[in-house]
């Protein structure tokens, strides 16, 4: 059994190293094919493990070797395959296999083809470590590993200034969150004495709530960074500078969900601190709405999808925060499928449009790109949560959870967001695939993607459609580990009203979007329309001015402060002090060397002067000694 585990874990690494061998050589297909096959192997292994876990209910726990051991600290490279991790493994390996195959086509013309696969497989490996690790340190390895790969991949086209900038932004923002996570790990270690999940969680109930709350908060800060929750969300949209398969794999399906995974994984902790959970849920709901609102007006196809991802992550956190861990995980899984699909579709469009991203410049592509059109539509439907696609089952469940747990505000927000989601998804679909062929204005000749790319996408398509069917079996499996709370609205009537009401609401939103954006008179906005000048539009298109704020008041301030530290403090104060002290001596020497005038008479005078000075001192002292009694009387008379 361990064999499968190791296969699943290490075949991506092998693939990565294989591709890396060709890193400096010109593009070879084999550098793409071999990692893809290896990922397929990894997927199969994961599948076997899934079957095993599902079938037997056993969890697999191996300890490969010691990593760090000092004092009381003991951290092994330990891996666990249980219901939660195996879910993630399946999601990760499946999506990444698809994306790999897809990328063989997508990156076809890129010079960095070999390098790309090396990075991508390395990412998968890191992600596998993240989800399979049996302790927090191992999680952190994967956590940072995916961060590194994300940096490499976002900045893959490093010659673009924006790409390398976005890569750095992503890395640094993640680092900020990682610090929180690190502190969380320290807290866990010093309070429980271990970093193994099982042992640590076993001790936790005996700890004070304060400490647990801090642990929960710091771990969640970590999750916030990786999952791009407010206020650390700006990097995700910028990360769209990376190649589209990267966006699909990393910034939609897997890495960004790591935060959710963390919260789910740490459910025994969060169970103990419901107040933090509520905070997470509230933040999730807020982000869901917040991100959706920005997606409404954005004119960058990939960014819209990225905001949508953000919004969906909000959903997941809302579920997880309310204690519905399995629901969160389920939505995570479903979301991975349809969102990856959506991204890959968008990749096809980009390819066709020669990297044009503004949907206003497209339109009517459904004629040339039928397959892509189909897939993206289905993915959008799933995203919108229309029955019977995957999104319906998972997303509706979250609404139910919020409702059942009596968090009506969250419920309302999420419900409203569902409408927005439907609107912006279909705004995109409508703008890209329907209406006038606006692309012709720009002299582009779009074409459908390679067949095998579409075929590669098909598993995702399938899963986006049918994933909802696995809800119950999944529930049974995963609740071996997670709290098995079933969320049932008390009365059937309410349930049906809610469900159908939601569906109608969403459907209306879709229709509205279609109506609005399939019109013939849609033109590429040029900033003159009334809407574009409205405050709300400006606020949304500028992402609530948050990036601006960060740039102006944090990045710039940091740079200026750094300059000040260097030029003013380091050079003018610290170093100048040191040199100043040295100079005092030197200048004393320069100034007083005139004493050595070389004139004998002066020398004699110095000698006499020295003697006279000494004599005066001697007289003073001698007099003081002789009249010490009198001096004392005198001084005491003065009251000294």
């Amino acid at each position: 059994m361990e064999l499968f585990l190791y296969t699943a874990l290490f075949s991506p690494l092998v693939g990565s190293l294989f591709a890396a061998l060709f890193g400096a050589s010109p593009k070879t297909k084999i550098a793409g094919i071999v990692p893809s096959i290896l990922l397929g192997v990894s997927f199969l292994s994961s599948l076997i493990l899934l079957v095993l876990v599902m079938g037997t209910g056993l969890t697999l726990h191996v300890e490969m070797m010691t990593w760090m051991a000092t004092g009381d600290l003991y951290i092994p490279f330990g891996f666990v395959v249980d219901e939660v991790s195996v879910t993630m493994m399946i999601v990760v390996t499946l999506v990444s296999t698809v994306v790999h195959v897809y990328a063989i086509g997508y990156m076809d013309h890129d010079k960095g083809f070999n390098r790309f696969f090396s990075y991508l497989s390395a990412f998968v490996f890191s992600m596998m470590i993240l989800v399979m690790s049996d302790n927090f340190a191992g999680l952190f390895i994967g956590w940072e590993g995916v961060g590194l790969c994300s940096w490499l991949l976002i900045g893959f086209w490093y010659h673009k200034e924006s790409a390398s900038w976005a890569a750095n932004e992503a890395f640094i923002m993640n680092r900020i969150a990682d610090l929180g996570m690190l502190i969380g790990i320290f807290l866990i270690y010093w309070n429980t004495g271990t970093l193994q999940y099982e042992e640590a969680f076993a001790v936790m109930p005996s700890l004070s709530t304060d400490i647990l709350t801090w642990m929960g908060i710091f771990l969640f800060i970590g999750a916030m960074g990786k999952s791009a929750q407010f206020p650390l969300h700006t990097w995700l949209a910028d990360a769209m500078e990376g190649p589209t398969p990267v966006s699909a794999l990393i910034h939609a399906a897997t890495m960004v969900t790591a935060g959710v995974y963390l919260v789910v994984r740490a459910n025994p902790l969060y169970e103990l601190i419901p107040s933090v959970g509520l905070f997470i849920a509230s933040l999730g709901a807020f982000v869901a709405l917040f991100a959706a609102s920005m997606a409404l007006v954005n004119r960058d196809m990939k960014r819209v999808i990225a905001y949508s991802t953000l919004s969906q992550l909000g959903y997941m956190f809302a579920a997880a925060g309310l204690g519905a861990y399995w629901v969160a995980l389920f939505h995570l899984m479903a979301h991975a499928f349809f969102k990856a699909l959506l991204f890959l579709g968008a990749g096809n469009v980009m390819h066709a449009m020669h990297d044009e991203l503004d949907p206003f410049k497209m339109g009517g592509l459904s004629k040339v790109m039928k397959g892509t059109f189909l897939m993206m539509t289905i993915a959008s439907v799933a995203l919108a949560g229309i029955f019977p696609l995957a999104g319906f089952f998972s997303k509706d469940l979250i609404l139910e959870v919020a409702f059942v747990e009596h968090h009506y505000i969250i419920y309302t927000v999420l419900l409203f967001t569902a409408g927005l989601t439907a609107f912006y998804s279909f705004r995109l679909v409508a703008l890209i695939f329907h209406g006038e062929d606006r692309y012709k204005l720009f002299g582009i000749h779009p074409h459908e993607a390679y067949k095998f790319m579409l075929i590669a996408m098909s598993p995702l398509l399938l899963l986006a459609i049918i994933a909802g069917a696995f809800k119950m079996s999944y529930f049974e499996m995963v609740t071996n580990l997670l709290p098995a709370t079933e969320y049932h609205v008390h009365s059937a009537a309410t349930y049906w009203i809610m469900t159908i009401g939601t569906q109608i609401f969403v459907a209306l939103a879709i229709l509205y979007a279609y109506k609005k954006y399939t019109r013939k008179d849609i033109v590429v906005p040029d900033g003159t329309s009334k809407m574009e000048n409205s405050f709300a539009y400006k606020l949304l298109i500028n992402q609530y001015y948050i990036p601006y704020f960060y740039q102006e008041y944090i990045v710039k301030a940091y740079r200026e402060l750094s300059e000040v530290f260097w030029t003013k403090i380091d050079q003018k104060v610290v170093d100048a002090t040191v040199d100043g002290i040295a100079n005092v001596f030197y200048q004393t020497g320069e100034r007083t060397r005139v004493m050595q005038s070389g004139n004998l008479s002066t020398m004699l005078k110095w000698m006499v002067a020295g003697t006279v000075a000494l004599l005066s001192l001697a007289v003073v002292f001698g007099l003081a000694a002789r009249y010490s009694a009198e001096i004392k009387t005198f001084l005491s008379g003065l009251g000294v």
């Binding site: 050595q596 005038s597 070389g598 004139n599 004998l600 008479s601 004699l604 005078k605 006499v608």
Partner: protein, 101 residues
């Protein structure tokens, strides 16, 4: 008006001070040497006086050796002056300040 030891000591120190005055104001080396002679001689008076008042001969011994020393110094000092004078034709100490700093 008994002349005590102190009288001699005061006299001696006055002479010593005169010697010091000479040492610091003389620029002509020869005359500077005169001043150093005065320094040594002034002390001799004290030695002799102390010796007298204590009835102890050590002071006179000291004075005797001081005289010897003074005499030797004259010899060496004059020797130095002669060499200097031969080369520079002056014995002004302001002329000898090539080394400084």
């Amino acid at each position: 008006m008994e002349i005590g030891l102190n009288h001699y000591l005061v006299l001696s120190t006055i002479l010593f001070a005169i010697g010091l005055l000479g040492v610091i104001r003389r620029k002509n080396l020869l005359m500077l040497f005169f001043a150093t002679e005065i320094l040594l001689n002034s002390v001799n008076i004290s030695f002799a006086a102390i010796s007298h008042y204590y009835g102890d001969l050590t002071g006179q011994m000291f004075a005797f050796f001081v005289i010897a020393i003074a005499a030797s110094e004259v010899a060496v000092g004059l020797g130095l002056l002669i060499v200097w004078h031969k080369k520079h034709n002056n014995i002004d100490l302001d002329s000898m300040s090539t080394m400084r700093g």
